[in-house]
């Protein structure tokens, strides 16, 4: 009895003694925590949020939104709905003159031509009861269900339609899901192409990086320092410069072609096409990402004891067996880290492939940039980006299952 009491007191003392240190440690990491929260967690959360939330329509036309929700998308629209639509649209202009066009832009994404139809409504001054007839007098389009169906699709604030769109599916007004038309379906193809390019770049980085990392890890300090600088050199030049350098090298009148023509290997009229195709994408991306493969492998190889291979040889293993069964398994944490790093970076790359890849350089990230910059459809961009993020997290999970994330070693 007595000893348990003592033990409790002791535990309390320990906790008290450690509390100060804990608080100190927490205060030290607090700035980083806040930074990570503000610059990483919050943006990603808002990204995922925006992919499934778009309130432009519901905010501007709340009543209409409700009525659209109740409408079955097939029967003729009710006078109430039309009235609510016209009055709320007109009223929204008083709040902010930009709102009606913003709403129109959103509807236009589902039904082309809606922008000008909305403009008709905005400029018509004599809209009164019966609204349905007045609208139909403006344009026969208002009689057709199409524009109303489009509005029904965009009316809810919380919507999975951007996520569906990101995988080439369309949400209909009835709430069904149908595949995107052939000429507009592109996302799955690009997801696939992006993964393939990333996988190939990872493979090439691994094939090229392994011997370099080996050399770095096992050469004399002086040589390896020198080599390390050469490996890191590309980091010191801007991405754009590196990419442009590849254009200068690979284009029709580029250095490589000029050289091949000069030594007579190819004919001047049959210069190799090495630019604006998959080849250029793979070459340039492999070059840009190679250091991310080499550094983790290098750091792991440095810790592998040289006498392990010697031991294997002395036990009768051929150099080939000794390498594959003894040396190579030791490099897997570094190789895995490098592959994960390169693959994830490659999935998000779009500047380099867009500049050198031509048609084939069109990757999923280009689509994200396109919707961010050109169509301003940030919700769709967010939805695609979220899917990409989920893909990368899946990969991370897989890596953790196969290699173990605790075994990952970065430079």
């Amino acid at each position: 009895m007595h000893s348990t009491f003592d033990q409790k007191a002791l535990t309390r003392q320990l906790a008290a003694a450690e509390r100060r240190n804990k608080v100190k440690a927490f205060l030290l990491v607090l700035p980083l925590l806040l930074f990570v929260l503000a610059s990483f967690i919050v943006p990603i959360a808002s990204l995922v949020w925006q992919g499934g939330y778009s309130d432009t329509f519901a905010n501007a036309l709340p009543e209409t939104s409700k009525l659209l929700g109740a409408w079955d998308a097939r029967s003729p629209v009710s006078e109430d709905l039309v009235k609510s639509f016209v009055t709320e649209l007109k009223a929204s202009k008083l709040k902010d003159p930009a709102i009606p066009t913003r709403v129109a832009t959103v509807v236009n994404r589902e039904q082309s031509g809606s922008v000008s139809k909305f403009k008709q409504v905005m400029s018509a001054s004599d809209l009164a009861s019966p609204y349905k007839e007045k609208l139909s007098a403006l344009s026969s389009e208002w009689d057709k269900p199409d524009i109303w169906r489009a509005m029904k699709i965009v009316a809810p604030s919380f919507t999975p339609r951007f996520y569906f769109q990101a995988v080439d599916l369309r949400l209909t007004a009835e709430g069904d899901i149908k595949p995107e038309t052939d000429e507009n379906a592109i996302h799955l193809l690009l997801f696939g192409r992006t993964l393939m390019v990333a996988a190939l770049v990872t493979l090439f980085c691994a094939l090229l990086g392994f011997p370099i990392a080996y050399l770095l890890a096992h050469a004399e300090t002086k040589t390896s320092n020198m080599l390390l600088i050469i490996v890191l050199l590309p980091f010191w030049t801007s991405l754009l410069v590196r990419t442009t350098a590849w254009i200068a090298l690979l284009q029709q009148n580029g250095v490589v072609n000029d050289f091949l023509v000069a030594i007579g290997l190819i004919d001047n009229d049959h210069r190799l096409v090495m630019m604006y195709n998959m080849f250029a994408t793979l070459v340039a991306m492999t070059h840009v990402l190679l250091p991310f493969m080499i550094l983790p492998m290098f750091s792991v190889m440095k810790t592998i004891k040289a006498n392990l291979v010697r031991a294997a040889l002395s036990l009768g293993a051929t150099p080939w067996t000794a390498f594959w069964q003894v040396y190579f398994p030791q490099t897997i944490p570094g190789l895995g880290a490098g592959c994960l790093l390169v693959f994830i970076l490659a999935v998000g790359y779009y500047i380099t492939p867009a500049l050198v890849g031509g048609q084939s350089g069109q990757l999923i990230s280009n689509i994200i940039a396109f919707h961010m910059q050109k169509t301003l459809n940030w919700s769709l961009a967010s939805a695609i980006a979220t899917l990409l993020l989920i893909g990368v997290l899946l990969l991370y999970w897989l890596y953790n299952r196969l290699v173990g994330i605790d075994k990952m070693k970065l430079a």
């Binding site: 004891k305 006498n307 392990l308 010697r310 031991a311 294997a312 040889l313 002395s314 036990l315 009768g316 293993a317 051929t318 150099p319 067996t321 000794a322 069964q325 003894v326 398994p329 030791q330």
Partner: protein
Amino acid sequence: MTVSTSSGYVVFDKVEKTYDGRVLVVKSLDLTVARGEFLTMLGPSGSGKTTTLMMLAGFETATGGDIYLDGSKINHIPPHKRGLGMVFQNYALFPHMTIAENVAFPLRVRNINKADAEAKVRKALDMVQMSDLGGRKPAQLSGGQQQRIALARALVFEPKLLLMDEPLGALDKQLREHMQYEIKRLHETLGITVVYVTHDQSEALTMSDRIAVFNDGRIQQLATPDELYEKPQNSFVAQFIGENNQLRGIVKDISGGRARVEIGNSDVIEALAIQAESGKPTIVSVRPERVEIEPMSSDIAATGRIEEVIYLGDHIRIRMNVFGNSEFIVKVRNGSGRRGFAVGEEVKIGWSLQDCRALDV
């Protein structure tokens, strides 16, 4: 064990090695190891002993001379075809394989069928008393256990020659001594030839049939442990093996294998002329435990003034000034009837001529 140097199992014939093309780290090395012998290469670091072992294993190429194994030249045979077992410093177990997989590795690369291999692995693990740990990974074992596994792995394919490169260097003293006996026992039961590298002289003395003392790329002396201790051929060996008092002097003359050496200003003592030339400086070597205090009679007599007395349990260690050399050590066996010693006291000491060797400088 009888050692026949004529039937050399391993032969080094004028072997040389240089890494940079300027300095020889192994100089014209001749060495013969008999079948079944336990030969230790002993020396300070940089003396060339490890390089010599690595040339035998095939990891280094001799830049001059030839190496023979069982009568055939092996200079250009790659390491994996030499069929030697080897135990490395820090064990070199494969961290990604279990203990059993580690031990089975040499059998696997030799394509030995699974059943045979399993039996051999079990036998090898039994031999080092580690049969229970086959499923563990090396990192889960202690240093001593890892060492046994490394030994089992090097022996499981029954090599005719076992090379060991400072295998016990990372163990603590007690474990090291224990392992020394175990290695010795294995050597005796298996009858295998062992070439062993160490810088620890007591390890060398305990285990070896013969010891090659290396210094400066050369073998300084190749002899059995007792001969090495009793009859060092030069002052390096005398100094490196065991403790040693060194008295510097000039050889006055030599006759009948005896040198008269003048120590300090006027004192002249006799010593066996091992490496001494008349008129040249020499070092007279006497082991501390061979010096007697107040002897009844002795070949060489001297007087020492006690500077320091250290009690070590089984013996007493006395530092005294003899012939002006204040680093002269005398070891006295501890016994119930022994006399006491006081610092500053002058005592008569003496030793026999057989224990007193005039060596090179």
